[in-house]
Amino acid sequence: MSTIANALQSQVGRKILTGLTGIFLTLFLVAHLSGNLSLFIPDGGESFNLYADFLHSLGPLLWIAEIILVILFLTHAYLGVSIYLKKKRARPENYKYYKSQGGPSKQNFASTSMLISGSIILLFVVLHVMHFKYHLFSPETYMVEGTEMVDLARHVSEAFQNPWIVAAYTFVMVLIGVHLKHGVWSAFISLGAKNPKLTPVLYTVGGIVALLLSLGFLAIPLYIFINGGL
């Protein structure tokens, strides 16, 4: 057991953890987006609200899922920061001239800005949860059979008519695409994908997954904003 604990702190172990947490966070995004797309069902947001009610009805199961998500986020962010700090220590004096060789190199805007894109995503997630889960910024509730309820679909629809909110979401959803452009591929390599014929394909597949997730999440605020509501 102690060897496994040591192994997780080694360079290889940390990287495998980064990859695993990254993949699970990506899977969470897929699930989250699938649920959110129910907003596009033309029933005034009823399906979406039913989906939200269903999640709430899970009770303790939902809490467990939420705790796991928090742990995934924190572990992933901690590893990302520690990798960055180690990189600084590993080369205190930088090159005066430095250039990527190109070719098979995956050094690009996405891969060199992982910590920045990740940190903005983390800040966004906190605000996003305060906004749509705890309704901190627009607490408009109504009573149904003695309990306080929120028309979540209406809340979303109203929020996304505010150009500032839409602009902020657009920015962050693009950043998620940027993070995952390098992230998906990188996670596969971290988890040991080593078939030389497959790895270039993985990079393309990672890019497509990143693009689809980014576009999917972008579609909701942009549609509501342009359409003037759901």
Partner: protein, 252 residues
Amino acid sequence: MSSTDLIKVHLKVWRQDGPQAKGFFEDYTLDEVNTHMSFLEMLDVLNERLMKDKKEPIEFDHDCREGICGSCNLVINGVPHGPEMLTAACQLHMRHFKDGETITIEPWRATAFPIIKDLVVDRNAFDRIMSAGGYISVSTGNAPDANAIPISKPDSDSAMDYAVCIGCGACVAACPNSSASLFTGAKVSQLSRLPQGAPERKKRVIAMVDQMEKEGFGDCSNFAECEAVCPVGISITAIANMRTEYVKAVLG
């Protein structure tokens, strides 16, 4: 030789008197560089001039000058071993540079590779990673019969793909994180493919990864910049392979 075979180059060379000294760029101009010279020969010409002028020559590492020893270590125009892929600095020819071009030359930069003087760095960290696990146990004495241990062609080919590593350290130099994962991964992958390395297989990968960490190399972020500058073209599959070897060693 026609005059088109001669170019003029401006050099910005990193000079540093010793490990603790402050380094700086010194500018030189060579008016007539034969384009058939190698990059190191061009530096030899410059050093001869410096010595004639009673100035301190530029220290740089070199030995075989044929791309097999891994001694030469120059970051040329921002890229370890210079602009040509699959080419060590000693195999790089001046015909790849333009007339009137300014060429910058820096040493490998990494905490684990401290600068000794000018362009020479201490790469003993690689040797310590090798002593930690990059060996096989064999009985000494007479050479064993060449065919005593059969090895399949795909295995020996794959081992050879990794065994071509010359240990130059360009992978570390190019890596934005100064990670030694390509070097260590190549050694682990090579030895894990061969029956001779089998008894130490699990111990080896753990010990080498540990040593790599102790030397102060950074983590791998899968940039694959190492593969792009590797003079022998080792692929980052070596790193993925090191990771699976590591997991197998830890889990059972």
